[in-house]
Assembly symmetry: C2
Homo-oligomer: 267 residues x 2
């Protein structure tokens, strides 16, 4: 929604293709056509008819099994190239789908290209700053994210005092933070309050046309619940929708939120 | 318990130091002295009096915070060297404690040294064998474990079709497998039944005197519940207590269990 609004604010027309079973009905306040997951023919035809030249893929969905897709003729035609993409992580799958769409004449754009104002800027947002030990954990976290990058694992992890509390895989950031909160509540993870950092970044070498990491107001609430001191994300590589609102929420929750530039990240 | 029995079966005397709040009371059928976590003086004195020359550390505990330890004079004396060990992963902490104990004249032994018959042997145990795609995931899993080794994250992860389902950190193997089971039940992880492998191994460069990975009958039940096809562990680097019982349980559950030698692992 934030992306659609931002693109429109720049004076461009938008046409949405919400996916049945996944997309929020609120999206229908924009011009739209509901589509079925896996039916490529209809949206491609509608885009051609509407004169669309560019497309942005947004949001997450439960990865389907190949036979659960609503196949149409176009998809059947693409099947030989689609099937092998199911072997591997999400990045491989999404990136391959993006290539298939581009081969049909639609240019895929990352959200960061069409609406750069939605991305986390560099530096601290809000009043809470990372302490030196947090900065240390941020460096450690980005380094570990880089190390697992080639394995297409996930986009985030949590570290406290160089100790890895959790690594995100298919469960997602929210479930990972809830797990840390539960471990602390149960006394199975024994840490002073407000220690540890959520570190989130696109996978190194990730196809940025698809699935840029995002954080929102709920991420701040979840990080607080997990007892973390703050959140560090890659500046220019993470969708925050509204950095101002995020900073205010972080201040209220007593957590820091910082955008770390690529140069800073790799030091 | 299996280790104490195995050592005794070799004709050696054992003396146990169960830690209050963590150890199983069943251990008291061996000669023992209950101790408090963090009080080093008493066990060191009792070991000296009993003529102990070697010690094996077994089992897991919730990592305490430094101030929660029941400090005695010996521990206070060790404190300057103990405190820095709390910065980092579990391997660093345990390995450092092992060094401190050895400096007092007690030789730390890994369970694999005093009771090698408790370790997983190389090859398939039981009747179910990994399929080619499972072998592929096993290689992938060991490779990823090696990549995260320097960060002291955890000893296990689960992979299905080169897609990383979960990575273990502080939550432990059981919670990680329960998470996969829940994701499948909720439909948030959409995989054919009996796909994916639990891969478990000591961290590369891990101090094998302490905290060797272990699997048991409950691990087989948990892997089955998580819908996995099987379990792969490092042969000679994983405690299984009773490989025969494990093989029978695996057959009954319909999962494979395989010990992979270090050479095989790195291919």
């Amino acid at each position: 929604m934030a992306v659609a609004s931002a693109v429109r604010a720049r004076g461009r027309d938008v046409l949405l293709f919400p996916i049945r079973g996944f997309a929020d009905a609120a999206l229908t306040r924009f011009p739209h056509h509901w589509i079925h997951l896996g039916a490529f023919g209809r949206p491609l035809r509608l885009m051609r008819e509407a004169g669309c030249t560019e497309m942005v893929m947004i949001g997450s969905l439960v990865r389907p099994r190949l036979w659960q897709l609503r196949l149409d003729l176009t998809t059947l035609f693409l099947l030989p190239r689609l099937a092998p993409l199911f072997r591997g992580g999400d990045d491989r799958l999404l990136s391959g789908v993006a290539d298939l769409i581009e081969a049909r004449g639609i240019k895929l754009r990352g959200a960061h290209e069409v609406a750069p104002e939605l991305l986390m800027p560099e530096g601290v947002a809000g009043n809470h700053r990372p302490r030196p030990e947090d900065e240390d954990d941020i460096r450690f976290g980005f380094e570990l994210l880089r190390a697992i990058g080639p394995y297409d694992v996930g986009q985030s992890l949590a570290v406290a005092g160089h100790r890895v509390l959790a690594v995100e895989a298919v469960e997602g950031t929210r479930a990972m933070l809830a797990r840390i909160a539960a471990l602390r509540r149960d006394g199975r993870l024994n840490l002073p309050p407000r220690t540890g950092v959520l570190v989130k970044a696109p996978k190194p070498g990730q196809d940025r046309r698809v699935d840029l990491p995002a954080i929102g107001l709920e991420t701040i609430a979840e990080a607080k619940e997990a007892g973390l001191a703050g959140i560090a994300v890659e500046a220019g590589g993470t969708i925050v929708a509204d950095a101002g609102a995020l900073a205010r929420a972080a201040d209220k929750a007593g957590v820091f939120i910082v955008g770390v530039g690529p140069a800073e990240k790799s030091r």
